[in-house]
Symmetry: C2
């Protein structure tokens, strides 16, 4: 086993930071370490939090962190952000309030930028969750910003998905319609001290009744006021209920197996796409085809089908890194 | 040439509707027709409109449609929506106000749902734009909802990208940071009659000055009040300016060539992904690998690399539909 994998499994924080840096760089040593630690994962519990900007997701994560830390458990936080083309990094403004946890060695916080991704949750998030798990982290929270493919991708990594809305959010219905209704395990109407929170909760409950829900677990709608901490204990209790329910029924194991299969397929697609991009950079025949497409000598879709069936498309490059 | 292609090129509205239905169904006849009409495209001008929900995009499209129709030109509108899991179709609520154009035979309106897409603009949108173009449509507008990969994908189909914001939008900065700054040709602060619009316009201009902009075309920031029509003529003038500028410089041709190349690559990726999914459904060896991944006998990424290099991964299936 690689040294970094051994140190990670021993729970060394510095090994965790190092591995995540290697993952971010796409260093082959990261893949070697991930392979070594994979069999030692599965003890952590992963909670995903999504919802429109302004729903108070960071405050909820902050409060849950404080609650869980008070029981002595360790926490990992992964914040998935769109990247600013100006700062060149992930948007950290919203995370300022988490600063109080930065000095706590029982809390590990990292941001991941989605820029350049073609949709879904960046694969590195899954590796980071696994690395945190292998390092002995008890609770991992993955927070996403916005409503889109990246956010729906939270289902591919979380054991429990929280969807946070606030009573004033004009985007709430849009959010629900964008598909999060189907991925939510627990709904959360935050800023419950403001007007409209009961109506929002009732509206969500109404929509849930219209929808097909799993016969056993019907997503509860919780009211929280994250900035005062109100409702956070109940929320944490509900997360525990969901965990228990899934563990007892075997759904948790099945869910995680599904996630791993999906990750395998996505990795195959990603590697194929990467090899195709390499080919675009290096293959004169492919470039000649591209120029014909650009010049309207052939339409893009027909050209793609023809290309895949032609001798220009040698399968060799797919098999070679 | 297929009958539908001939009728489309003759400008028959019914042929256009029929072709789009065939495209939606993934009918092979659609690909045949698209191939036939491809060489006859390029006369239409395509404007993409994106921005957060509530920015008034539909109203802007509505007003631009009225303005352009008053000059006798024809208009095609493609609204790209997240799909509701409940209605099973695209969200049409926002489009109600476009109803006044539904009876105008010079206006063609279609919604496209993004559900199930893995990110980017659905490929069918590009085909629909090309079909509208071939049918002799003068102006095509593509409107997207939200901020995400789908929205950034608007760059892959539009000749001019409008980014609409409103002064009250708490999401505005988030929107700008999510990458739209780089794809905008024209910014639009809508609801300019409300407080904060001048500050918002100034903030955008400030951010533009910080960013690297193309030396010739610096994206203007326009103020509109779409529901009264104020500012719409100026906006249309600016779209014309951008068209002229790109035509004179050769940027338009280059931009369209780049879009076609990108579409080819995306089509290759899509077909490969489709064939992989077919293989998952039908190949016992691949399924055995998936079960091993699910059971943690091997980690997903290593398994993917191994699979691609193994004899299990015969290139034959990639070449066969």
């Amino acid at each position: 086993m690689s040294e970094i994998a051994e140190r990670l499994l021993a729970g060394e924080q510095r090994a965790l930071s190092r591995l995540i840096t290697l993952l971010e760089r796409g260093d082959p040593a990261a893949a070697v370490a991930m392979r070594a630690v994979d069999g030692h994962t599965g003890r952590a519990y992963t909670v995903g939090i999504t919802g429109p900007p302004g729903a108070g997701k960071s405050t909820i994560v902050d409060q849950l962190t404080q609650l869980v830390r008070s029981t002595g458990q360790t926490v990992g936080i992964i914040a998935v952000d769109p990247t600013s083309p100006f700062s060149g990094g992930a948007i950290l403004g919203d995370r300022i309030r988490m600063q109080r946890h930065y000095l706590d060695s029982g809390v590990f916080i990292r941001s991941v930028a989605t820029r350049g991704q073609t949709g879904g949750l960046p694969r590195i998030v899954k590796s980071m969750v696994r690395a945190l798990d292998a390092a002995g982290t008890d609770l991992i929270m993955v927070e996403t910003v916005g409503v889109g493919q990246t956010e729906l991708g939270i289902i591919s990594v979380a054991d429990t998905v929280l969807v946070a809305l606030n009573p004033e959010s004009g985007d709430a219905i849009q959010t629900l319609k964008a598909g999060v209704m189907e991925i939510a395990d627990i709904f959360l109407v935050n800023k419950a001290d403001r007007e409209g929170s009961d109506q929002m909760a009732a509206a969500i409950t109404g929509m849930l009744h219209m929808a097909l829900v799993s016969p056993r677990w019907s997503p509860p709608v919780m009211l929280t006021t994250a900035h005062t901490g109100q409702g956070i204990e109940d929320l944490w209790g509900k997360i525990q209920d969901h965990r228990q329910d899934q563990t007892d029924s075997g759904d948790l194991e099945e869910r995680r197996g599904r996630q791993r299969k999906r990750e395998f397929i996505e990795a195959v697609e990603e590697v194929l796409a990467q090899r195709l991009r390499n080919k675009v950079e290096n293959d004169p025949d492919l470039n000649a085809t591209l120029e014909k497409v650009a010049a309207k000598e052939t339409d893009p879709y027909s050209a793609a089908l023809e290309y895949l069936e032609s001798s220009l498309f040698s399968a060799d490059w797919l098999n070679a890194p």
